[in-house]
Amino acid sequence: MSESQLHKALVAGTVAPSFSLPATPDQMVSLDDLRGAPVILAFYPADWSPVCGDQMALYNEALAEFQRSKAQLLGISVDGVWCHAAFTADRSLHFPLLADFEPKGEVARRYGVYRDKEGISDRALFVIDSAGIIRWSYVSPLGINPGADGILQALDEIGADARTAEVQS
């Protein structure tokens, strides 16, 4: 991975670019519709590759923990909806996988995590707060499952800020 690829991902403080992507052949998910609660975007290179499976499987098991922060998890890769459907069924996933398929990798590009050479996205995480601001981002080496600790810490901080704001208002 080149240095430029490592450092171009959108950073904390940036407004999360809007997008609307298919989750199934007949269902679209729009980031704007999820305003009001935190969103976790998990870009990953591809369905079926072993490490991805482990990462998505881990997040599948961590859903209850994410839901404590009322956060919605979205997986995103350049795979198409039918591929996602088969992968979701095979792994019993309980969260949406979005197809960044046409134009290919457009959303990954907007978040600065598209790998032109390979035609896939980085393994990248973004935690977005309820106002649509990126609060934490992380690009993992392609072959390494980044775990959930960074996401949980970012969600804790968002929750703590929200509580402080409530006390002050």
Partner: protein, 174 residues
Amino acid sequence: MNRLSVGVDSGDHIAGPRSAAVTLVEYGDYECPYCGEAYPILKAVQQAMGSDLCFVFRNFPLAQMHPHAVHAADFAEMAAAEGKFWEAHDLLYENQQALSDNDLRRYGKLLGIHPAAVERAFDGRFDQKIEDDFRSGLRSGVNGTPSFFINGMRYDGPLDVDSLIAVLREVHAR
């Protein structure tokens, strides 16, 4: 480098003296084949380190992937309440291909545990303990099983007997 988010305490399953200079924590899943591969290695490491090592097992069942993992964990927690955690832990890892509820009932008999206690184990009474373990793992950066922490620091090195003993001895000598 990831750190263990929750320190070892009396609620943990511990083999070896708590006062040992080296503590090795495993996050494991009874149905995970990689944990199964690690099991005899860890046994050999424990044998070699003797009282210099405190070994701790925490639950990290990947329930959606491994349909028997949670009941196996329930069974081990129930055995812990009977003072037989490590016997159960070992039986489960030595019989990873046979973890149905009927198999677990059979292991209960082998361990001399009353059948009613085995049945009660499946009613959700150990959910909290298992979830607490799982959450502490997530917070510690556990990204799969098995994951290991040596004196609270994540260990991602090789998992063969010689390498593990070398690392643990080195930590011990510090």
